[in-house]
Symmetry: C2
Subunit: 485 residues, 2 copies
């Protein structure tokens, strides 16, 4: 609720500077601790204990001066022992705020180190929408205690906030809404605001509602400042407003914020009743998280990983992808196995086949990325899909001729067999066509069945271009064997 | 400069709805055009010409009602012919705004269809910072004409805006700054604002400067609204402000906006003179573009591609990556070539070797993604780097034992040779260790030499795990050949 202008830094602190300062103090502390443990002279002990304490005090002060988001960055960058040491030094009343800022994986490690009372105290410093964000990581009994400690309105809000999935507008919205009536003058509205004393962060407009809570319009703060105080709210407010519903997809809302350059927007229900608001900072966090999880899922990491997680935890996070990968590799291996007789006749085929498979996979992934992106931006329409398809096939064909000639010449020069060059060229062209076909078809089919085309389509594509590439190349070689040996 | 509350939609329009409506009208138009061309009866001709015109008028109205950002989305989703037809129907005074919104590739296609006068007229509707964004795509003579048409202050601004690289704060900032003096009362400041008539979009604070233009603080609109009119600006303003320099890295600034939940922030020079401001909408656009270009570069697309670009243009956009890929594939092929004698003795090796290479590449990319991410978030410090390294090696070792056993048993069951299973297990473990080592080392080294670790590191890693995997597996097999045959 506080405004964010006094962040305590003249310029913004870089994450690295903060980290360096904390690590320096931790290292000093560590050094002293080790000295104390090693030497048993009681007098020295006393001296070192003092130095030790001084370091911690310094660290304490440093942390107090840092913005919560900066403390969160430092915590994420520290190994578990140091992380918990720093976490203990953070003032208890900031615990809630910082827990909100850290990544899921790090939050888990911090919550594990807190008891129920500490968690309850931390959660009680937060707004209901923020508590809802923490809830998945909190123990059940803490949530129960929390619900009991809240008043009726807040409890109802928390329960409804908990009911929205994370990737909907409901999951992102907050309840910091300031409402005014349409039939008062700006003067009256201003007096009301002064009584309130402060406005929620990222407030660029007030919401105008009727007595039943139905949204009638919005009052930009700008207009409140610039128009005459004796004008009526109804005459000054904007009536056509970009609104959202709690069930709307969060990514669609993010696109709308981006397109219309919004700072905040009302969230309404089916009866146009105002139920919350969406702010640009929630949207920015969502965009970041989304692009992050895209990157992770491309690499086959199940979820965000605490970089200092235990070896065993990391193994668990990564195993699913490796297992899938193993299955597709086994399939490709069996395809090759079927042609062992062919390879026996001409062992050069074994050396050349990864070229066909590899280039097919890469070219297919280029097509796939284009299509996934176009789907995400809503650029694909039944009318233009065929056109796109033809284009990708065309690109694959030309690439097949160009790169096929290159690999064909390479094979000819190495093994001195012109027919081998022709087989390479034919196989590469066919595999690039297969790759282009799958690169369009896989995401299009996933999209049609309501699935996210970004997840898993690259694995599927590579599986097809690998096995398919081996099959095409070795199959062609088997057909033309008389000319090859 | 206008406020953005009247976007003309009750709820936000989805990109798909808009596209569907435009395509429907275009299809009708197309149908009529074709009828007219086919039939030569003059009377019918007249009738159809009328229907034809009516469709275009309808499309015209639809486009006029759409937000510029929405028109941009539609243009991106249309094949070139339709795109230019729609572009012609858009009112000339909106051309500039829409050119700003479309993707680089689509902008190029639209600019190509405009003559110098149209371009000049479009650019003149824009602010200097916006012209600077368009400039890279404009013909040189248009920029020259533009510079001549601007007044001295604007020309100086445009020239300085053109001098900042795209990925710096200077490249993102705008010049819509409203400044006030510290020694006046809020009352006076408010009177001044009312005279101005309107505030720039995304204004949440005014900038307080001294007579030389040096920044003294910021005045949040909130405080202007809530505090007493007779108070002095100096007593109400926030003095500790998050500020940026024009040379600052845009991504660092985006991180700061995210951490401190900013809506706008002042950009100052070395003397603390206010030179511009950074707004959250510019930051959001930057974040989007960055995550987009990450995704494209992972797939090896050189730049954003117009999905309806010509086949030939697409081939050019994609060739660099395929060429690199070809080189790494050739290297891997030569590694296998060295072991042709070994494969001749046991052709099963050819079928099994892609498993070792494939799983190594995938596991290495998981490590790589973790490290690239941690580097981007500033989480890696010399002190903890060793720890990370040990962890990744540990994960690779455990995965090697687990998945190594699986592939070992697979090989044993298929070929009935226990020694082959042992070789598979050993080779996979070694290749996973190599992958983990390279997954940490490649991005760390790129980061150390000031390069973006996200670009190209995955290609490099896969090249090593492919060639390395083939070498390890076939080398081990050659060593243990007596037990394998």
């Amino acid at each position: 609720m506080a405004d964010n202008f006094d962040t305590g830094n003249k310029a913004h602190d870089s994450a690295e500077d903060n980290l360096n300062r904390v690590v320096e103090l931790l290292r000093k502390h560590d050094l002293v601790t080790r000295l104390v443990h090693k030497q048993d002279m009681p007098r020295r002990d006393l001296v070192e204990n003092l130095v030790h304490k001084q370091n911690l005090t310094e660290l304490h002060t440093l942390l107090d001066d840092m913005h919560s988001a900066d403390v969160a960055c430092v915590l994420e960058a520290l190994p578990l022992n140091d992380r918990l040491l720093v976490w203990d030094l953070v003032k208890a009343e900031r615990d809630g705020e910082i827990l909100l800022e850290v990544s899921d994986a790090v939050r888990e490690s911090l919550i594990k180190a807190m008891d129920s009372d500490e968690l309850l105290a931390a959660a009680e410093t937060l707004d209901t929408d923020e508590i809802a964000d923490l809830a998945p990581d909190l123990p059940k009994d803490v949530i129960q205690d929390l619900l009991e400690s809240l008043d009726t309105q807040k409890r109802a809000r928390l329960q409804s906030a908990l009911s929205y999935p994370e990737d909907t507008v409901g999951g992102l919205m907050d309840y910091d809404i300031v409402t005014i009536r349409a039939d008062v003058t700006l003067e009256v509205a201003l007096r009301y605001l002064r009584r309130l004393g402060e406005l929620p962060e990222q407030t660029d407009k007030l919401f105008v509602v009727d007595r039943n809570g139905a949204l009638q319009g919005v009052m930009p703060l700008q207009r409140l400042l610039l128009r005459q105080p004796d004008e009526k709210v109804a005459d000054v407010m904007a009536e056509e407003v970009v609104t959202f519903h709690a069930e709307d997809d969060a990514s669609d809302a993010a696109n709308a914020f981006e397109r219309y350059d919004l700072v905040s927007a009302p969230v309404i229900n089916a009866d146009r009743h105002l139920i919350g608001r969406l702010t640009v900072n929630a949207v920015v966090d969502h965009i970041r998280q989304e692009s992050d999880s895209d990157m992770l899922s491309i690499a086959g990491l199940r979820e965000e990983e605490d970089i200092f997680a235990s070896v065993w935890k990391s193994v668990q996070n990564r195993w699913a992808w490796l297992a899938i990968n193993l299955v597709t590799a086994f399939v490709a291996s069996r395809v090759i196995g079927e042609f062992e007789g062919t390879i026996e006749k001409l062992v050069a085929l074994a050396a050349l086949m990864p070229i066909i498979a590899g280039i097919g996979g890469n070219s297919g992934n280029q097509t796939l990325t284009m299509i996934v992106r176009a789907l995400a931006l809503g650029q694909i329409h039944p009318d233009n899909a065929k056109k796109l398809f033809r284009k990708e096939i065309g690109v694959a064909f030309i690439n097949g001729l160009i790169w096929g000639s290159v690999v064909g010449i390479f094979a000819y020069l190495l093994y001195g067999k012109p027919a081998l060059g022709v087989v390479m060229m034919g196989a590469l062209t066919l595999n690039l066509l297969l790759a282009a076909f799958m690169g369009v078809a896989i995401p299009a089919i996933m999209h049609k069945f309501g699935r996210d085309p970004a997840v898993g389509s690259s694995v599927l594509l590579t599986a097809v271009t690998d096995s398919g590439g081996f099959f095409i190349f070795l199959g062609l070689a088997a057909l033309f064997m008389p000319y090859l040996t």
